[in-house]
Symmetry: C2
Subunit: 470 residues, 2 copies
């Protein structure tokens, strides 16, 4: 391995091959703290050619690679295993915005550019890059692409795979595929871009991307709405689509437990409504400078909702500051739950017509496994996607950890039986690789393994992630 380390140092410079435990520590444990591994080295190339040299060297040495972006993943997909034999390839130094073209509606970036920086550059160019998620201040575009990230703008703009036009990828043998096209239409063969998006670093290393920009939507109308049930929230979504059509940008749900944690732990947070209720929806319409009627449309939605008993009360943002404070209630949940104590996270999709029934049945079933358990439920109801995260009763974190496998299995079995997905946004990573395969047909797992073998015949790209070891 000394030979390999020497070659890596030659490729990227001695300063960018980390092997000391102190230097390496931030790269081998994930955001949740659940996955902690060991690394042969952490390598930090600064250019696509350097990435190619690193991958070629590892390929020749038969050493496995774990690509890593902002290390904000929640399923252990970007950290090494416990063997100490894997190289972590961090894209964090590749932060160049290569080109912005507001007329074509494209931005071309290095994989290591932080999502918030892409948003900011787009805004400076008078355009919108719509992807938005909790970790946007530190997650990288390469990681967003590798995991097909979701977030709060999926309802209107789609997942990451719908926001990308072309990729640059270093293949498992070190060759570079230059697929950096900015075309909306290109029907000249298999869609390799879509194959790499969501592949979680198991088919190659994404080093650059051409992303789509959209017309800016500086006008907003935003409300925090009290709703009696998940069923009412789904019906309210239908109303909002009918009244606001193409301007509907956000439709997020949270239960009272989630709001309670935010009110308890987020400095400055306050309940915008007088009476507590079981469920809340954050709804937002957004439009370009010259579109009108957003406030009228929002009021029409809310009036119709109250009349149909789909809402009991609502707070409408009257200023940008009020808008921010309503959004903070939704965006603060994950952090607030972390402050509260241990969290068992799930990220599931249900067919939207089965969402209410599923959520109603799940609570009592989990309470039978661990009495007093608190489902802190929130997410993107417009996509059928709930972050169904569990907190224990106060003081019972150890019981939660002990029951974790049983609780997750109960949830996944129930999701699979309802034709849902056990990972809506977060991917499979190491945490769910085995579970993912277990809920799929043998034919589907065979197809995935055939794709993996075709592109990475030596199995050196992020082994154990996305697909379980054979």
């Amino acid at each position: 391995m000394t030979d390999l380390l020497d070659r890596l140092r030659t490729a990227v410079g001695t300063d960018h091959v980390l092997t000391d435990a102190g230097d390496v520590s931030a790269y081998v444990v994930d955001w949740t703290g659940v996955h902690e591994g060991r690394a042969l080295a952490v390598v930090r190339p600064g250019t696509t050619s350097e990435v190619a040299a690193v991958v070629a060297a590892c390929h020749e040495a038969g050493v496995a690679i774990v690509p890593q972006g902002g290390n904000t993943g929640l399923v252990g997909g970007g950290v090494p295993d416990a063997s100490g034999e894997q190289v972590v390839l961090s894209l964090g130094r590749m932060r160049t915005i290569r080109e912005v073209d507001p007329v074509a509606g494209t931005i071309t970036v290095d994989a290591g550019v932080v999502l918030a920086d892409v948003q900011a550059v787009a805004e400076q160019a008078g355009r919108l890059f719509p992807m938005s998620l909790g970790s946007e201040g530190s997650c990288t575009i390469g990681g967003n692409l590798a995991t097909n990230a979701g977030g709060t703008a999926v309802l209107r703009y789609g997942m990451t795979r719908e926001l990308v036009l072309g990729l640059e990828v270093v293949l498992p043998d070190g060759r570079v595929w230059d697929g950096l096209r900015g075309l909306r239409k290109d029907n000249t063969g298999y869609d390799l871009t879509q194959l790499f998006v969501g592949s979680e670093g198991t088919l190659g290393v994404i080093t650059g991307a051409v992303l789509r920009l959209f017309p800016a939507t500086p006008r907003h109308a935003t409300a925090w709405v009290a709703v009696p049930s998940v069923e009412a929230a789904v019906s309210l979504l239908g109303l909002a689509q009918q009244h606001a059509g193409a301007h509907l940008s956000t439709f997020e749900i949270a239960n009272r437990q989630a709001l309670d944690l935010v009110l308890a732990h987020l400095p400055g947070a306050s309940d915008p409504l007088a009476e507590p209720t079981d469920w809340y929806v954050l709804v937002e319409l957004a439009a370009a400078e010259n579109d009108g009627g957003l406030d009228d449309a929002l009021e029409a939605i809310l009036s119709a909702a109250v009349e149909a008993d789909l809402a009991s009360d609502a707070a409408i943002a009257g200023s940008p500051a009020q808008r921010s404070s309503l959004w903070a209630l939704r965006e603060g949940i994950s952090e607030a739950q972390k402050v509260e104590g241990a969290t068992l996270k799930h990220d599931v999709t249900l067919p939207i017509t089965r969402l209410a029934e599923w959520a109603a049945a799940m609570g009592p079933q989990l309470d039978a496994v661990l009495p007093g358990i608190r489902p802190v439920t929130y997410g993107h109801v417009g996509d059928g996607n709930l972050h169904y995260n569990l907190s224990a009763a106060v003081g019972a974190d150890d019981d939660l950890r002990a029951a974790a496998a049983d609780l997750s299995t109960a949830i996944y079995d129930s999701v699979a039986a309802a034709d849902g997905s056990i990972s809506a946004e977060h991917g499979l990573g190491r945490t769910k690789a085995a579970a993912g395969a277990s809920y799929k047909s043998a034919v589907e797992v065979d197809l995935m393994r055939a794709v993996k073998r075709a592109l990475d015949p030596d199995g050196l790209m992020n082994p154990g992630v996305l697909l379980p070891p054979t």
Copy 2:
């Protein structure tokens, strides 16, 4: 082969295995008439199980399969080669609408359902299936998916791959992959659906699909606009996006030559504007029942356009009948050009910022090859996509046919040099398989061949289509 034919007859019934020349003739020649092949047999299964039995039988016999939908393709991707050794597998009998769920916004269909029937069923359910193209009365969803079809709604709703949530596919060995999920979010592994979309029947046979439905947009504002140049059209697009934002649904271009052919050959067609000009744009805004302001937005766009010298005149549709007659001018071009005589079709994308320069340079270059040539140019300028179709001078059709290869090569070389695509919508088929590979890097062709080998190791699915023979 007698054994195989017997087995096919057992699988689908004697009536549905066609071998007589008269019965087979409609299945072995494509819409353009350019590609005419021969078939061992045409097999017409009625169910997914029957498709699986047909594919398994051919696989065991080592006989190649050509899947065919409505046979409306323009690049020879759905007709057999000249060997007489291939089986045409027609999906035309599989026409069941399996399920419509307006709340979830999904429709599940057999592959052989005609596109117009999907549109109609969606409309009956109060929803919109937005895909729209010239052949919608006879093309099938399976063919749309296999070729990643485009059309006039791509600007707002995207290509076919953005309209599909799940697929059912019979694999090259006869196994069935059931990926019929209706979830907007499902990050549990490689996106196999996107791999099959656009694969032109070379990886398997699509037998069913879950498609996305959208809120209906029964309100329209439509105009036929005279513009001085392609450059002005591109600037007008920017204006339209700024004023109409999310409601902009159509932005189509046509040159005067295209309009002249429609006026000459389409019964009842008339020029809606008093003075002729070089270029025209069909612009349409569309919204849900409760969205307002479309007429105001369209007038604002047109006023701003006239003020900025981006438009000289415009006809606004004042009734549904007038809207239909403006659309007929755009939709009649392809048929009118066929009536006029021989047509050499090209379907190219340019980066939108290079579109005007490219179109301006191309005309004189082609005239040097064949004096008097008429570029009949129209297409989806919002996507950078032109149907750059050539008619000869009157009476010179034979000269056009003789110069066809030189003309196409000149166009493709120029498109490739400008970072465009030689096939925006139509796919590669047999016509462009070799050209497609010749403009790609060796790395990209290698990747595509690796995918092909992984899923179809015996090379029996539509050989010679999409990738040239090795």
